[in-house]
């Protein structure tokens, strides 16, 4: 067997092991979905067609999917980056809100008429700094005092959201609303400004930031020294320490960047959609990011696809609402998560067993060939 084919086989197996589990999970979710739809006396094919038509079937629906996927990509990446360092950042919800708020503030502070290409990056950076600062708290507490980042991030969500609500209602809100005044500068054009068929959808050019974030995280994790060290800390902190890596330093940096990327997700709503910060603007997107990272297997490219999947389901829920309750789609999301979490090891084991039997057969053939030659 030449080295080339061996690499080829290894690559194919790697691909199978990476892609098959989420696909199987999707099939499982669809089967469960079938049963639920049938229990409502509807035809699964009709409902699924409606779901597809309402999302990928027309430009508006597709735009909405892209809009929702933009935020989910950021929160998914945020969770994955921390997870690769062995940390469980459940605080994307709060970091996202902080990011959105900071972006809105930055937009308010800028003089009217600042060009978009100057203002939008400033707002994005403000979002990242705010999200990063929020996540730095659990990062430092974990690295320096061993406080569980799970608990701290969860509790900090409540603190952050309450603090933001207070700040806005007490000082910043536009009367009779729950949102801040319109930004002076920094808003980003919607896709519909360039492509009329997207008309009505909130999809906007901040999606470029999300895609660049995914590529950046990928490059960092798998092509840089920092990523090498971060993954080592996540896999085996003692070995990383032995390898000259400052484990506590990596933990803090991982949390800060994780929070920064979650915060970046806030610009989608604030810069791209409304032009102001509104209470509860992205409720649930932080937590759904965990599911996105799980289904995307903590891999940036996987997360892009997983974000599209979850965005499709959530937008599709609205589309099928006439036939079945929207909550059915929530159940499907839950089934996808459960299936990935549980079925994945099963699928991988099956794949390995199959590969083993192939290897056995080839080994047997090789052995008998060898015997025949000697």
């Amino acid at each position: 067997m030449s080295a080339g084919t061996r690499t080829g086989i290894a690559f194919r197996r790697h691909l199978e092991e990476t892609l098959l589990p989420p696909l199987v999970a999707l099939v499982v979710a669809m089967v469960v979905g079938d049963m639920l739809i049938l229990s409502y006396g509807q035809s699964p094919s009709t409902v699924y067609r409606l779901l597809i038509d309402g999302t990928w079937g027309n430009a508006y629906g597709f735009g909405q999917v892209i809009y929702k996927a933009t935020t989910l990509t950021c929160t998914g990446l945020a969770f994955a980056l921390a997870a690769r360092a062995g940390l469980f950042n459940v605080g994307a919800e709060g970091q996202l809100a902080m990011g959105g708020f900071a972006a809105a503030l930055a937009g308010l502070a800028l003089p009217v008429g600042t060009p978009m290409f100057v203002a939008a990056p400033i707002c994005a950076i403000a979002a990242m700094i705010a999200g990063g600062a929020t996540a730095a708290v659990p990062g430092v507490l974990r690295a320096k005092f061993g406080a569980s980042e799970v608990i701290v991030t969860i509790m900090l969500n409540f603190v952050v959201l309450a603090l933001l609500n207070y700040t806005i209602t007490a000082h910043l809100h536009v009367p009779e609303t729950l949102h801040t005044p319109e930004m002076h500068a920094g808003t980003v054009e919607r896709l519909s400004d360039s492509f009329a068929s997207f008309h009505g959808s909130a999809a906007n050019w901040t999606l470029v930031a999300a895609i660049f974030a995914a590529l950046g995280v990928w490059y960092f994790l798998f092509r840089s020294k920092g990523g090498y060290e971060l993954r080592a800390v996540g896999l085996q902190p003692d070995a990383a320490e032995y390898g000259g890596v400052s484990v506590s330093g990596v933990m803090i940096r991982a949390m800060v960047w994780s929070g920064a990327i979650a915060g970046l997700g806030g610009i989608n709503f604030v810069l791209g959609y409304k032009g102001y910060y509104e209470e509860g603007f992205a409720a649930g997107s932080g937590f759904l990011g965990i599911a996105v990272a799980l289904v995307g297997r903590n891999h940036p490219i996987g997360i892009l696809f997983a974000a599209l999947l979850f965005a499709t389901l959530s937008q599709g829920g609205l589309a099928v609402n006439a036939l079945v309750p929207k909550q059915l789609v929530d159940i499907l999301q839950a089934v996808v998560i459960l299936a990935v979490a549980t079925a994945v090891p099963e699928v991988q084991r099956e794949l390995r067993a199959a590969a083993a039997s192939v290897a056995r057969t080839t080994a047997g053939v090789n052995a008998s060939n060898a015997k025949a030659q000697s």
Partner: protein, 555 residues
């Protein structure tokens, strides 16, 4: 040795027909792996025939066989990755075999479960203890089979049961102490008690002496003999040939998943066993066996005490444990270039903390560390490595390797900053480093992208050795460099260490294996209670002389 009959273990029909000891009756000439027509199958405690077990593409057992008589101590030996542990896990019901038959005490039990195995009297003592540290000895022993009074644990009965069992078997351990307060040897006794409490009559011990001091090992042998005399059967997985000779009455040798020889202990020699394990003659393995020191051209005359500039100088070093007690107490020594300084001693006397302090993984409370007259006491790990310090850590699974990283990625661990280009990690440089090191250190499989986890213990250790010794260095800290690796890899690693010494490197060798320290060192210190109980030229040392220092008797 001369009155040992020589077997020829390469041959499957290795067992001399007429040698029978009082403890074991080795079956007459038979091909291993083929069922015998022996009708008295009741005399077999364990019969495993043609067992096959694969994990993915890794074939752990390929037609392995094991036959153990009732009431014998049977040694199962073989290199790392030979499939010993897998075979025993099949026997203990942890794995179902892909093919083959398993009989225990005359019953066909192929493919049974752990609970069946326990019920039938098979008990396994794992290499890594599975005890609840916060519970007492008695609570651990009865865990899962607790005597109840009503809905609560009957503590009195549990205590009485465990004490009775302890007295009956000679496994002395205080039933009321917490497991977290026990020494390693005591914890192991608790594991054995646990198995016996569950009615084990066939006891499997997976490398039981890897963690024990020589006196603890002797006590373990006594316990095993008592158990054997009471009619129990013991299967011992081990690498250590001196143990095999001392304690077992029959030996099964495995290599690459197959049973390659079945030997009668009284009719064989360490050399024969080693040859069967490796499949060829092994010279270096022999100096691992006490009393069999061989001389080679490597055994250069003893270098004099360091007079010139020391490569490594430790001055009044004091180091704390994690619990802030004193681990290393004002230790001073120096190692010359071209010298192997061996530290022997029972584990837990400060060796681990000393090495961590030297490597920069633990802060020194006071004292100085000088590497070629450069004070590195305040240097971090990376700066020490850059200053010429290499470190083979004592636990490759915890520290030495990132098991899920590929061989190539592991080969740069600690030097990742030297494998970067302007845009990040330099993958061409990493790949060429991997190719060179894999070839130079014969790492198998020779595929840079295979994760380290998939390698055998010996090949994993070769990654560490390649990384630490395959680059320029001046001082090498070698902690347990051959722990848990096979005979072939031991030979290779020892040769590397000698080569480095001959090239003028200073080596600090710490090993729980006294034979290894004796075989490699130029000077030997025995560490006891955080200090050196003695420092002697290796020529003046043997196990007898060092033993008392190790137990603190001379301290």
């Amino acid at each position: 040795m001369s009155n040992y009959q020589k077997g020829s273990p390469d041959d499957a029909e290795a067992v001399p027909p007429n040698v029978e000891s009082q403890f074991s009756v080795v079956p007459p000439r038979q091909r291993v792996g083929v069922a015998t027509d022996d009708s008295s199958s009741a005399a077999w405690a364990v019969r495993m025939l043609n067992v096959t077990k694969s994990f993915g593409s890794i074939h752990a057992n390929m037609g392995a066989s094991l036959e153990v008589r009732v009431g014998e101590i049977h040694a199962l030996v073989g290199e790392n990755g030979a499939g010993k542990s897998t075979l025993m896990r099949v026997l203990a019901g942890l794995y179902a075999p892909d093919a083959g038959t398993v009989e225990v005490l005359g019953r066909d039990v192929s493919g049974w479960k752990t609970t069946d195995a326990i019920a039938a009297g098979v008990g396994m003592v794992h290499q890594h203890f599975m005890l609840v540290p916060t519970l007492t000895v008695a609570e651990n022993v009865v865990l899962g089979m607790e005597p109840m009074s009503g809905l609560t644990l009957d503590k009195g009965k549990a205590l009485a049961d465990v004490r009775a069992l302890s007295a009956r078997t000679g496994l002395a351990v205080d039933a009321e102490r917490r497991v977290s307060d026990l020494s390693v040897g005591e914890a192991q006794r608790v594991e054995i008690l646990k198995a016996l409490y569950r009615g084990a009559r066939v006891l499997i011990l997976d490398e039981p002496t890897a963690v024990l001091s020589p006196p603890e090992t002797r006590e373990l042998w006594q316990v095993l003999r008592t158990l054997r005399d009471a009619g129990n059967t013991v299967i011992l997985i081990t690498h250590k040939l001196d143990e095999v000779i001392e304690i077992s009455s029959a030996i099964t040798v495995m290599r690459t998943g197959r049973t390659v020889a079945r030997l009668n202990t009284h009719a064989t020699t360490p050399r024969d066993i080693a040859r069967a394990m490796v499949g060829r003659d092994v010279s270096l393995a022999l100096d691992m066996i006490p009393g069999v020191r061989i001389t080679s051209e490597h055994e250069a005359p003893m270098p004099p005490e360091p007079t010139g500039p020391a490569a490594l100088r430790i001055d009044g070093l004091t180091v704390s444990t994690d619990r802030n007690t004193l681990a290393v107490n004002k230790l001073s020594f120096a190692i010359a270039p071209g010298e192997v300084f061996g530290i022997a001693g029972v584990e837990g006397n400060g060796q681990t903390e000393l090495l961590e302090a030297l490597a920069g993984l633990r802060r020194a409370r006071s004292g100085k560390i000088l590497l070629e007259n450069v004070d590195i006491t305040q240097h971090n790990v990376r700066d020490r490595a850059d200053a010429g310090l290499s470190h083979i850590p004592e636990d490759r699974h915890r520290r030495g390797l990132v098991l899920d990283y590929s061989i190539a990625d592991n080969l740069i661990l600690g030097r990742q900053h030297r494998f970067t280009s302007a845009t990040g990690l330099d993958h061409h440089k990493i790949a060429s480093e991997a190719r060179n090191q894999i070839q130079a250190f014969d790492i198998r499989p020779p595929e840079p992208q295979v994760p380290a986890r998939a390698l055998s213990g010996g090949n994993q250790q070769k990654i560490v050795i390649a990384r630490e010794m395959g680059r320029p260095f001046r001082v090498l800290l070698a902690a347990q460099p051959t722990r848990g690796v096979d005979v072939g890899a031991i030979e290779f690693i020892h040769a590397q260490l000698r080569k480095a010494r001959d090239a003028g490197k200073a080596i600090l060798l710490v090993s729980a294996d006294l034979a290894e320290v004796l075989a490699l060192s130029d000077r030997i210190a025995v560490m006891y209670g955080g200090q050196f109980a003695c420092v002697l030229p290796a020529a003046d040392c043997d196990a007898e002389r060092l033993g008392p220092y190790m137990t603190g008797a001379n301290g």
